[in-house]
């Protein structure tokens, strides 16, 4: 997989990160100098109203976008100047994405959706290898039985679990979840958070969760609040929520019994 970060170097370190867009004749400053460190294996929730800069921050962390100023060190390597293709390779190997609207390929089976990142990782694998790996991950999120269902045959929660399996298929260090529960009801939200907490705890995957719901943010260890392109608060969560415990307390549902 990856080389270990240099000693003392956090997984992610951003220094004076800035991003501005030119919209017509107005320059919008989405990020106005953000400094932050995220250690490997942590679970960070990033909160803020829309327009606070949290999405821009996440796009830069996810290497989908480049900062207009400042530095971004990923495992000690300055990636702020990487071109499109180098960023694509890094995204493929190190970062898994989970989106609010799931972003699964329509009319494509869950299995093939999960396999998608494997097509771009440069390894010559047989179709069987890909299927095996993808199926293992679908089983891990409790969807082994539905591997051949297409997204429109799955519930929202199931679709998000497929998306999580897809994000994990290349064994990334970081999982970026952008409002993963935004389109889900509260019970399903807890289920998704349970999976994220389990991945963080058992596989030591670094989770960065973007949300505007403060109660969802409390599943993380640390909450960073953005406002007007700046970090306004960065604190450890005192009474962290435990999704597994909450689920156990909830009455079992018919649907879940069938899985």
């Amino acid at each position: 997989m990856s080389t270990a970060p240099a000693s003392g170097e956090p997984l992610i370190r951003v220094v004076d990160l800035r991003k501005s867009y030119v919209l017509g004749d107005v320059t919008v400053h989405a990020l106005r100098g953000v400094d932050m460190e995220i250690g490997a294996g942590s679970f960070v929730a990033i909160v803020g109203a829309s327009g606070s800069g949290k999405s821009t921050f996440m796009n830069i962390l996810g290497l989908l976008d480049r900062p207009s100023g400042g530095r971004y060190f990923l495992e000690g390597q300055d990636v702020s100047g990487f071109d499109r293709d180098r960023r694509a390779i890094l995204r493929n190997r190190k970062i898994g994405f989970v989106f609010q609207n799931f972003n699964l390929l329509p009319r494509t089976s869950a299995l093939e959706n999960v396999e998608l990142p494997l097509l771009y990782d440069g390894h010559a694998r047989s179709g069987e290898d890909r299927h095996r790996k993808a199926l293992g991950l679908l089983q891990a999120v409790g969807l082994g039985e539905r591997a051949h269902h297409t997204p429109n045959q799955l519930s929202g929660g199931q679709q998000q679990r497929v998306a999580i399996a897809r994000a994990l298929v290349n064994d990334p260090e970081i999982l970026l979840a952008d409002e993963p529960t935004g389109n889900l009801d509260s019970r399903t939200s807890v289920e998704i958070m349970e999976i994220l907490q389990r991945l963080n705890r058992e596989k030591r995957i670094t989770i960065i969760l973007i949300t505007h719901e403060h109660d969802i943010a409390e599943y993380g260890q640390r909450v960073v609040a953005f406002r007007d392109g700046r970090v306004v608060s960065d604190r450890a969560v005192e009474s962290r929520r435990d999704a597994a415990a909450e689920l156990a307390a909830l009455p079992a549902l018919q649907e879940e019994a069938a899985v």
């Binding site: 996810g62 493929n92 989106f99 009319r107 990142p117 097509l119 771009y120 990782d121």
Partner: protein
């Protein structure tokens, strides 16, 4: 990404919109089919010209009286055959030219021929005993006339198939007597049919007799109209034709080539003109066909642009999970090329069918060559690459964030 994955994704995308893909391909199908059919028509025309040359004998040279050259000089010029300056002595001198293996004088006229209660108007050709060999005629039955028949102007003849069918519908003509301009001619033999000639004329509608007989008894002339020659090999034909021209100018004391009172032509030369004509025609039809292929390509570009727009989110997602610029470029290029190549294959099949239909229904000669299939296939592929590149480039250059957010 590996090539088979790229192809698989492309084919699946095509299958997803079956009707749309089929309609897009239709442009290429029609384009390729017309290219194939036009090449087939051209090759068929050339092949049938070749066949006719074979039928005439490849190394045949003929010297006609009169000139086909450019008008010039001040003399009154008649058409070919109207000049009476070509003589038997010329013919004999020509036969001495190195490389000439056979020589026959030739005279020609038309006559009403009668056998029993049947009559028919046909062409009467006169030659010597070598005439059949030079003209590549074979006998179906009977025998050729002899040098002695030629010498004494015997009233004997050979009948072409059309004449036989008109005069002797149900009788063996060999040994029978026919009347040509009221002179009795004994039928010595019947010619093997040759079928249609270069210009669609019936080559079997003729009688062949000794030229001496035709000269004296039918036409009342002493000159000859043409000299037919065969050269010993077809590579030598050009040189022999040049030598004959020189010899004839000497004999007729001609210094200015524009005043030639004779014309030397080879069968190949005549064929070359017609091959050129066929090529020009084919070229013309091909360019029209290529235009439809071009239009088909534009259709592909159009639908690929629609497809890129529709699948913006998919492109964004693929980029997010690690697709590089070239992965996306290849994916959409593969889709465009698949459309054009599948269309190309179908077009080739349709083109072959259309060609055969033209031969079968209209009687036009067509010939499908492997080259034409390869060319059409390569052309179709090239159309896909050319017209698929712009949409693919557009897809590959999308901004991943905007693509992911696209509604």
């Amino acid at each position: 990404m590996r090539i088979q994955n790229t192809l698989r994704i492309a084919l699946r995308a095509i299958q997803r919109n079956k009707i749309r893909s089929a309609l897009t391909m239709l442009g290429v199908i029609i384009g390729v089919a017309s290219v194939i059919a036009m090449i087939a028509l051209g090759s068929g025309a050339r092949a049938s010209i070749d066949q006719q040359i074979q039928a005439q004998g490849t190394n045949v040279i003929f010297v006609s009286s009169g000139s086909f050259g450019r008008p010039g000089g001040g003399a009154v010029r008649g058409g070919a055959g109207s000049v009476t300056t070509l003589t038997l002595d010329d013919a004999k001198a020509i036969s001495e030219v190195r490389g000439v293996t056979r020589m026959s004088p030739m005279v020609r006229g038309r006559a009403q021929v009668i056998a029993g209660d049947q009559n028919w108007n046909t062409s009467v050709e006169g030659g010597n005993e070598d005439y059949l060999a030079i003209r590549n005629w074979a006998l179906a039955s009977g025998a050729n006339f002899t040098p002695r028949d030629v010498l004494v102007a015997e009233k004997v003849c050979l009948l072409g198939d059309t004449v036989v069918r008109n005069l002797f519908p149900d009788q063996d003509p060999v040994g029978q007597v026919i009347r040509v301009k009221n002179l009795p001619f004994r039928v010595l033999g019947v010619l093997v049919p040759k079928g249609q000639g270069q210009f669609g004329q019936d080559q079997d509608d003729l009688i062949i007799a000794p030229y001496t007989t035709i000269q004296k008894k039918l036409l009342g002339i002493t000159y000859i109209q043409q000299v037919y020659l065969s050269a010993d090999n077809s590579d030598d034909v050009e040189r022999v034709a040049v030598d004959i021209t020189r010899l004839m100018r000497q004999r007729h004391r001609i210094t200015n080539p524009e005043e030639d009172d004779f014309t030397v032509r080879t069968v190949e030369e005549m064929a070359a003109t017609r091959v050129q004509m066929a090529n020009t025609m084919t070229g013309l039809l091909m360019s029209v066909a290529s235009v439809s292929l071009l239009v088909g390509g534009i259709g592909i570009m159009n639908i690929m642009l629609v497809s890129v727009t529709e699948r913006t989110r998919e492109i964004g997602l693929r980029m997010a999970v690690g697709a590089r610029t070239r992965d996306i470029l290849r994916q959409f290029l593969a889709e465009a090329v698949s459309l054009s190549v599948v269309g190309g294959v179908a077009g080739i099949a349709l083109g072959v069918l259309v060609s055969q239909g033209m031969t079968w229904k209209l009687g036009w000669p067509t010939m499908i060559t492997s080259t034409s299939i390869l060319v059409a296939f390569a052309f179709a592929g090239a159309v896909g690459v050319f017209f698929g590149y712009y949409p693919a480039r557009k897809a590959a250059n999308l901004d991943p964030i905007e693509a992911l957010r696209y509604e």
